[in-house]
Amino acid sequence: MKRYMHKFMQDPLSWTIIPIITLFFTVFLILPLSFTMYAAFVHNGELNLSAFGTIFNTKKFWDPFPEINDSNFYIQVIAPGDGITTIRIRGLDYGIFLNTIIIGIATTLVSLTLGLTTAFFMARLEFRGKTILSGLLLIPLVIPPFVSGIGYNALLGPSGLLNERFFIPVFGIRLLFQGIVAIVIVQSLHYFTLIYLNIYSSLMNNDPSLEEAAENMGADRLTVARSVTLPLAMPGIASGSILVLILAMEDLGTPIIFANSGDTVAAKTITFYIMQNFFLGENTSEINQITAILGAFLLLFALIGFYAIRKYVSLKQYSMVSKGRSGKFRTVKLGKIGHVLIYVYFTVLLLVSTIPHWGVIIISSTKPQVWPLEFSSENYNKLFDFENGFGQFIYNTIVYSFTATVLIVILATLAGYVANRKKFWGQTLFDTLVTIPIAIPGVVLGIGYFRMFGNSEGFSIGDLFFTLNPIVAPSVLLVISYTIRKFPFTVRAVYAGLQQTDEVLEESAINLGASKSRVLWEIIIPLIIMNIIGGALVSLVYNMSEVSTTLILVSDTSNGTITWKMAQETGKIAELAAMGVFLMVLQVISLLVTNVLLKNRADAISGI
């Protein structure tokens, strides 16, 4: 006992922080997830494995070889004799389970193609306007997925601008993207930037002499790219792709937008199903076992993905074998034709990937059903109106997000410092604990929270602490869920800062008599304050546009956030778009500030 007291006194800061944070994460992350797993296996208090079988036997969930019919097709052309021809591009429905997997994979592949090509162009080609372009390429990232769906719908939806004002009058055709195709399009246009940033960072960190050596050996540019550049960029490629895979599969916002406007295939995704079929029935708070099983699978995929990323990131030492750089990169200077081609590529890419942005801006600032477009700010006037408008939601969003972010900053700085500097048993576990939330699908955590804190059968912690009971008062749990889910961004930023800070700075202070907490407060924090702020900003912005746990935990207007409100009134596109633009502006501001502070570190922004 004395030994432990002694050890404690040596470093009271760390030995207080570690248990507190571990406890926090255990109670609000590990346990709820275990409850989800539990709910997946148990029904009515008994172990029930046949539910797994039911899922795989039901076409609604598992339909690997779907029959093509009026509901299930790739492309459908409806051509009535008179009137508008409707062309629906949809993609098949493979059942809820497979749909989600396919969406994830498809989005990843498309994002990978776009991101890889773009990263290569930006890293290895030289052409005018590159600096402006690198800023422009961040734009797709600043639109939260939910808003993205709204904007997309506004332009390309069934009654969107393009259909109403262009396709129908000119061609007499209504072009519809639905189902898996629509979701993949909207998601890819947003997520490819993440992959691009990751790969770009990888490419720029490569040792240029490795490529020069290959060229010296007689390889032409393509061969160099294929045999040297690409393999060495694998860590960036892999981690970016896996991240997108996880995010695409756990995305709730995009399916909601499409499902709520009548797209039945879009509704057949795991996240949407979980949201709609949360409870077993109107009168109970027991979690539907099927829902829990789907959630468990989602969680499993995410965890596997996370593990794979960590393995690849540790392989990043790959490119550290060759130390030092012997010059800049061998870039290809583009001639006139090259310039034209590149500009065409990027123009198309940017135009297409900013469709949602345009959609949202146009629809929120113009009068509806009026052509040619007339501007009006009525939707924006509603923004801050507390009585009629969205003031309440903006207020709630800001309150919840800020509170969560403040919590994050405090806890993450302490946790980051301790985890990074102190060697203790379980350090890797601790580190994993605080960074894994990024892979945890929000809906799954929501299930866990309900099961753990709001369960009606038997005992639940929520009975002891009503503030934590989501059925009664979701706001506290919501803030906690924000804190947990966006923790990794700030932690990563803190790590990055600490990496750049030499340990000797602390050691000299300790040598002069400072306690560890003094060192933290007076030496470390001032040195890494920029990183902390940058990380906090990223966390804050993601908090503000969080969708999944919000939709699951909140059901009353008074607790609603911006995203919550958007999900309730998916039809009122114009007003939602105004809120969406507001969120976008916030994201842009924070991205700019983060850029300046963190100098565009891809890992801080993406949180891996």
């Binding site: 040792d207 020069e212 060229e215 390889a219 393999p231 060759s322 030092g324 012997s326």
Partner: protein
């Protein structure tokens, strides 16, 4: 086997004139070293030979062929990099055979050649390892093998030993010279380490600020520097300033800033014409009374001699360092400047001298190099 010829090479980085008119010839089978401080342009010249940089003006000829604008990968040069540049995701054998693969050499022959060259660098048995599993010295040997296995027309070495510790450097520079001589490969070698240059080269070109200071054998460069820069760069040197006070046929008298007088009778043509050209310097400027000159002496070519009378400097001992085979005596001259003498005899006696004691330093005429405006006065 071919000779490499560089004619009037000018290279710019944006507006910065990095290489300002270089003319060089490397004979077949010769090892030429480009020696100079960081930023002097030596690496730039090397990389332009490799084809990674295009000169703004000038030509590079390999044999009869003008390769100035030929793409890097078609120049048939083998390059070794400072950081080895071994591909970490390939095995040693894959690294070595990469160039052969590019030359469409069939598989069995590639393997055979790789094994052969690896045994030449004493790395047989490592073929299946990855670079991360080898030490720095081993990695550099792999790099050497990779460059040589393709039997290149010319071998280019970009400070290949700078990242290694002293022992390895000494060991490897011998190996490199041995192998290249054995294979008869024309080599251009870049380094900032003068002892390395002296050990490894047939010819040394000393480069400073984009211009050649001197081209010559190691002996010439070491013992007969053309310019003040070369004199200071090679070997361990003292430099003192003085002014010409007397000028007669066969006699030059210089008064140092410290007040000592030095006379030189071994200068051949103090009245010769100034024939310096840009890019290619020849020494032999004209002297006149009142000219400012610099005198450079090697630490180990001068002596402490109480009995000396001519060409003597006086100084007080500032520091004594016993180095094993010699004692390094650091002195303050009359004007307060530092002066170092490496004494290799009567070490005990020298060590016994107290700090602050006054001594006399004798500068034999043969040990002094005189320079006016950076050019050597002969």
């Amino acid at each position: 086997m071919v000779e490499l010829k560089i004619e009037d090479l000018h290279i710019f980085y944006d507006d910065f004139h990095a290489v300002r008119g270089i003319n060089l010839t490397v004979n077949d089978g010769e090892i030429l070293t480009l020696l100079g401080p960081s930023g002097c342009g030596k690496t730039t010249i090397l990389r332009s030979i490799a084809g990674f940089i295009t000169p703004r003006k000038g030509r590079i000829l390999l044999g009869e062929k003008d390769i100035t604008h030929v793409p890097a990968r078609l120049r048939d040069s083998g390059m070794i990099f400072q950081n080895y540049a071994l591909w970490p995701h390939m095995t040693i054998e894959e690294n070595v055979t990469y160039g052969l693969k590019m030359r469409k050499v069939p598989k069995e022959e590639r393997h055979r050649k790789a094994m052969a060259i690896l045994s030449q660098v004493q790395l047989e048995g490592q073929a299946d390892k990855t670079p991360g599993q080898l030490s720095g010295g081993q990695q550099q040997r792999v790099a050497l093998a990779r460059a040589l296995v393709i039997e290149p027309t010319i071998l280019l070495c970009d400070e290949p030993l700078s990242n290694l510790d002293f022992q390895l450097r000494v060991e490897l520079r011998t190996e490199i010279r041995h192998l290249t001589k054995k294979l008869g490969v024309t080599t251009v070698y870049v380094t900032h380490d003068q002892s390395e240059a002296l050990a490894i080269s047939d010819t040394i070109a000393v480069i400073n600020a984009g211009l050649i200071e001197q081209v010559g054998t190691p002996l010439e460069v070491f013992n007969d520097p053309d310019t003040l820069f070369v004199a200071n760069f090679v070997g361990e040197n003292n430099q003192i300033e003085g002014q010409v006070t007397k000028l007669e046929k066969g006699l030059v008298e210089v008064k140092t800033e410290g007040g000592d007088t030095l006379t030189y009778t071994n200068l051949q043509d103090p009245f010769m014409e100034d024939t310096a050209e840009e890019g290619d310097r020849k020494s032999a400027p004209k002297l006149a009374v009142g000219d400012k000159v610099s005198i450079v002496t090697r630490y180990d070519k001068i002596f402490l001699d109480e009995k000396a009378t001519e060409n003597v400097l006086t100084g007080t001992i500032r520091n004594l360092a016993y180095m094993g085979t010699m004692v390094q005596v650091v002195l303050n001259l009359n004007d307060g400047s530092k002066f170092t003498v490496n004494v290799s005899e009567n070490l005990n006696k020298v060590m016994g001298m107290g700090l602050g004691s006054t001594v006399k330093i004798h500068l034999p005429e043969s040990a002094c190099f005189l320079f006016k405006d950076n050019l050597r006065v002969r």
